[in-house]
Amino acid sequence: MNKLRCIMLVDDNANDNFFHERVINRSHTADLVVAKQTGEAALEYLKATMANQKLHPELILLDINMPGMNGWEFLEAYEKLAAAQKSKAIVVMLTTSENPDDQKKTKAMNIATSFKTKPLTTEMLQEIMAIHFKPTT
């Protein structure tokens, strides 16, 4: 499996961030895992690291239910970023089973997204890698 340089977790829940980071590390999916607990902090990080390939995330795992800027508002702001500031893919991490209403929202946006239900597992990571990061052999 391909290994990513950086994955960013955007989630206000530190426990989830801890667990997801552990899953990523144990499955050796990325060299670096960055956890941001607000949408604003995540956007700042994307802008700040656009020139640094090692630190700029290729994949974002996004929580929806966050205080302040929620996941949908983060996506709206993300859409307005310059191409160089964006990552390659965003996976929306839903708290419960999929909600079709919410999924419709992202169809209007030109963002490579998929939806997964928490908690993140190794199998889930493999699927994400298969869809968004196919090896270019």
Binding site: N15, D16, F19, R22, T95, T96, S97
Partner: protein, 482 residues
């Protein structure tokens, strides 16, 4: 007139006076001539005294003749005096007549004033007459208009008269017909005499019946009274019902609001409950990954129990969430329910094969339903029918439908363990289970989902069952318009 006569009389008398005067003049001339004669005689006397003696004798003769002539004059004077007296009287008469004339003149003056007043009155009357004439002219005009209207009315009457004549002609024909019928009636009358005799007999019978009816009427009157009582009671009851209906409508509205609130609550609760549970679950995994090697067998069993409790709680929360989401964004679709059931059966293929279930689907209708939700109903009912089977007896399941007045009745029957009638209602309540997990696995949400879905379709769901024959679940779906 009298004046004229009097004047003539006066003229006549004046004539008489003139005549007398003429006579007197003549007499005076005679006297003068006689005096002349006397002078002559005297001279002759002187000459002839002799003659005198003779002549004296002649004088004496002449004196006697003068006496006679004086007597004649006296008589004539007397007549003249008479005439004068008569003139005085005549003058007095004239004065009287003049006075009378003045009186008449005064009376005429009065009469003239009266006439002048009367003329004035006549002029007033004339002015009034002019106004009256104008009024009459206007009334004549009006009469002219009325006459024109009457002319039209007369034409109308003439037309109506013609119509009446036609009717009269028709009546004549009708009368002839009546005359003919009268003849017939007379025949009938004769027959009626016979019939009357019969009727008299029947009347007698009727009187008997009437007496009986009189008793019956009293009974009816009593019953009517009772009915009125009931009617009065019904009116009160209706009012009460109306009030209760109103109350029910209020409750219905309150229920709709409450249900929405509950759905919202269920969604939030299940959503927010899921998160800490997941954290527990995650740390359980982390804990086992890191420390499983240092735990003894007991500790590992305890952790397994915690895991299964977490799994069960997670399932319950997920079920609650699904239940609260039922019917969201659902649209009525016209579907072939046979196809719908076939899809469910193919989804359950493994379970059916494993259990060896025999499933028969009889004729099924096409109708408007919430497709995904109704599929879930069939899936739950078929799953239950397989799950709650008797030991060592292969499940036999029949799925039927039956047309009703306003929709369809479906049934899913099995030959399983049945349900105690005590729990016919309770099985549809959420998280209600009749069996332990060891015996029959489940989370107690399937039938409550079914109930909610059928209620969405404005239908009913119920169960009939006994331990010998198994259970039959029925539900109805009325004709729904999209």
């Amino acid at each position: 007139m009298s004046i004229t006569i009097t004047q003539k009389e006066l003229a006549f008398q004046n004539q008489e006076k003139e005549d007398r005067a003429t006579e007197l003049s003549i007499a005076y001339k005679k006297i003068a001539s006689q005096n002349e004669e006397k002078g002559i005689r005297a001279k002759e006397l002187s000459i002839a005294n002799k003659e005198i003696a003779f002549q004296n004798k002649e004088r004496e003769k002449r004196a006697a003749e003068l006496i006679i002539a004086n007597k004649e004059l006296a008589f004539q004077n007397e007549v003249k005096e008479k005439r004068a007296a008569e003139l005085v009287i005549a003058n007095a008469e004239l004065a009287y007549q003049n006075r009378e004339k003045e009186k008449r003149a005064a009376e005429l003056s009065m009469a003239n004033i009266e006439l002048a007043y009367q003329n004035e009155e006549k002029e007033n009357r004339a002015a009034e007459l002019i106004i009256a004439n104008k009024e009459l002219a206007y009334q004549n005009e009006e009469k002219g208009k009325r006459a024109a209207e009457l002319s039209i009315a007369n034409k109308e009457l003439a037309f109506q008269n013609k119509e009446k004549e036609k009717r009269a002609a028709e009546l004549i024909i009708a009368n002839k017909e009546l005359a003919y019928q009268n003849e017939l009636n007379e025949k009938r009358a004769a027959e009626l005499v016979i019939v009357n005799e019969e009727l008299a007999f029947q009347n007698h019978e009727k009187e008997k019946r009437a007496a009986e009816l009189s008793i019956a009427n009293i009974e009816l009157a009593y019953q009517n009274e009772e009915k009125e009582h009931r009617a009065a009671e019904l009116i009160i009851a209706n009012k009460e019902l109306l009030f209760q209906n109103e109350e029910k409508e209020k409750r219905a509205i309150e229920l709709v609001i409450a249900n929405k609130g509950l759905e919202q609550f269920s969604y939030i609760a299940s959503h927010d409950l899921q998160e800490p549970l997941r954290t527990v679950s995650n740390y359980m995994l982390v804990f086992k990954e890191d420390y499983i090697d240092v735990l003894d067998e007991n500790a590992r069993q305890y952790l397994d129990s915690v895991d299964s409790a977490i799994a069960r709680m997670s399932l319950l929360i997920k079920s609650l969430l699904d239940f609260s989401r039922l019917g969201h964004n659902a649209d009525l679709v016209f579907v072939d329910s046979k196809v719908l059931v076939d899809v469910v059966l193919s989804d359950l293929e493994t379970m059916i094969k494993t259990s060896g279930a025999m499933i028969e689907v009889l004729e099924m209708p096409k109708l408007n339903v919430y497709e995904v939700e109704l599929r879930q109903v069939f899936q739950n009912l078929i799953t239950n029918a397989i799950k709650f089977r008797k030991d060592n007896i292969k499940p036999k399941i029949e799925i039927r439908s039956q047309a009703e007045d306003d929709g369809w009745k479906f049934s899913v029957s099995d030959n399983g363990i049945g349900i105690n009638p005590l729990y016919f209602e309770r099985v549809f309540d959420i998280f209600q289970r009749l069996h332990t997990d060891e015996k029959y696995e489940g989370n107690g949400i399937g039938l409550s989902n079914c109930k909610k879905i059928i209620q969405m379709h404005q239908g009913k769901i119920w169960v009939e069952a006994n331990p010998a024959q198994g259970s039959t679940f029925y539900f109805t779906i009325p004709n729904l318009t999209t």
